[in-house]
Symmetry: C2
Subunit: 392 residues, 2 copies
Amino acid sequence: MPSAVFDSSEYDRRLERTKERMAERGLDALFVSDPANMNYLTGYDGWSFYVHQGVVVTQDRDEPVWVGRDMDANGCRATTSLSEESIRPYSDDHVQSPHDLHPMDFVATVLDDLGVSDGDIGLEMDAYYFTAKSYTRLQQNLPEASFEDTTLLVNWVRIKKSDAELEYMREAARISENAMQAGLDAIEEGVPEYEAAEAIYSQLINGTADYGGDYPSIVPLMPSGDHTGTPHLTWTDEEFRDGDPVIIELSGCRHRYHSPLARTTYVGEPPQEMQDRAEIVVEGIEAALDAAEPGVTAESVEKAWRDTIAKYDLEKEDRIGYSMGLGYPPDWGEHTASLRPGDETVLEENMTFHMIPGLWFDDFGVELSETFVVTSDGAETLADFPRRLFKA
Amino acid sequence: MPSAVFDSSEYDRRLERTKERMAERGLDALFVSDPANMNYLTGYDGWSFYVHQGVVVTQDRDEPVWVGRDMDANGCRATTSLSEESIRPYSDDHVQSPHDLHPMDFVATVLDDLGVSDGDIGLEMDAYYFTAKSYTRLQQNLPEASFEDTTLLVNWVRIKKSDAELEYMREAARISENAMQAGLDAIEEGVPEYEAAEAIYSQLINGTADYGGDYPSIVPLMPSGDHTGTPHLTWTDEEFRDGDPVIIELSGCRHRYHSPLARTTYVGEPPQEMQDRAEIVVEGIEAALDAAEPGVTAESVEKAWRDTIAKYDLEKEDRIGYSMGLGYPPDWGEHTASLRPGDETVLEENMTFHMIPGLWFDDFGVELSETFVVTSDGAETLADFPRRLFKA
């Protein structure tokens, strides 16, 4: 019995839009191996992306075909509405085989069976988990096929959210607020980093009084002290010390939908310079949020941030945000539009972004983020959490 | 200041063994993109594998070269002892670029700079995160190079653990014991699944009285009720019900080293049939553990399990275990030796395996696992946890 994460009409719309883009590209079939895209098109949800798997969309079939490991076929039956003939499991001897048997050999037989072995087939060439070997094995098995790189085809369909998707992202935002508060409460002098990580995780999974939380695609990140300039280090046994700046970046998750949130805190009394810089970050993020509305470009949103900090003779070169929502480890980003110079994506209603600008100096960094949805006339942040420098 | 997870002599030995295998294959260079292999060779640790990165080993250089995103270079300085000239960051405009700029374009310039652009270069063709596009871009950029598939070259070096690595795995086992007990304590009729997940996570990260825990490469899995036959579904808001079998699979983690553990529990009074089957699983796993010692093959260990359950007219076709240790999401397995028919890997002292056999029937599944190290004359399990069916 499939769980009803979305109505079947929602999946129908997603598939229809995907097929439209396939038609524009002249594709007979699309092989989707990004777990988020697999979920988007079918509802399939499971921690099975450590083995090769995917879904095949063909122009002439009403539903996609799931291909995965034999022991995951029941998971497909439990989380999707696919009919039996659209569930194609491969045997366990394909898994990390010592006999040169590769899951893509099986995928090739499925593509052949679907009548597209000599067709134009789209592959997510740069998606997580679609390895170089997956590609060369498909080439070897299907010498008549013509492969095209369709890495972000489904991701671009995902960029505009439905109301049902936004509802899950709002639920995720409630979880993010609770987890951020727990993290800020836990951090103090002498507390080991892992205890703060535990406090955050506890809220991420306990969720709210009304519902629980899913595992986030990225673990809570808490660079502190000298490490505020190393954004992707994870927690250790080290204790927080007086005078440590700490950046917390986390996301609640509901049915794989995220709503990330970042804040900065300081162990002890923050120096005036840091408070001043934090105010600049707040001013910059608010200017950028004000700039976001349907019809403007992604780069113009970033420019509002850059113009603000330039008033204080500051500049930062990295992008300040990206489209996101549905995701699996290692990332909740969609890899489509970014808020950065050169990105001319025009914002539309119901697009969602994580805006995470920051400033780094010799002794500290300040980072603060908001997840927002583009509304009919502006931008609405999903979380409601004070925008300021905290102190522990 | 690099954290001292291992002595530098440990990294020297790892590099030396890797170079020996490279020499056997006639390789001038090896590009390693599996995050576990990157960590193994350099100590590099960070949640940055959602962008392209890697380390390059060449025969004529004393240390590997790290290549990654600009904002992760400080993370490399913090977790490795690499000299500045061995840290090669690429600029942020390579990240999910709208301008057809790919991180592998930069990797190609590094390989060229290292003098191997016309050499024999090993690539981990089937490793997580080494995408099809990574491969085609390297091919385009380095037309004179000869690429070879070296997917598990470093993984096979990793299969025998040092005493220092085993120490971390033993620490991880202490965490696994605490987390398993917390999970068994939390599960009861009417409790939502996410509350049990929270109880487990809390222990995984709080660790023990002496040290904290790292995030595991796989989230705790708790298939229950009808879903014990769907091993990779994650927790939901559903409540445990009287009569539910529940399988818990989890792993503590220390410095990225794991020690997985699985047990089965039952909400209410388990039927006699299930208790009987659980005893068969225990008998089978103990027979397989007894069979494990230096000099025997991986398949012979599986045969001891299979022969045991055959006495009860039962059979199971999947592999019952695999080599593991160091890992990042999505997997803690090493993808080398498996305990299954046809795997003729000869066990040696200090190899480590997760043995996870199970039996599934119409109404329930029973699974029970142990992580063990091959000792001079047998096998030693790392966790000390009762081997039986539990009830909640």
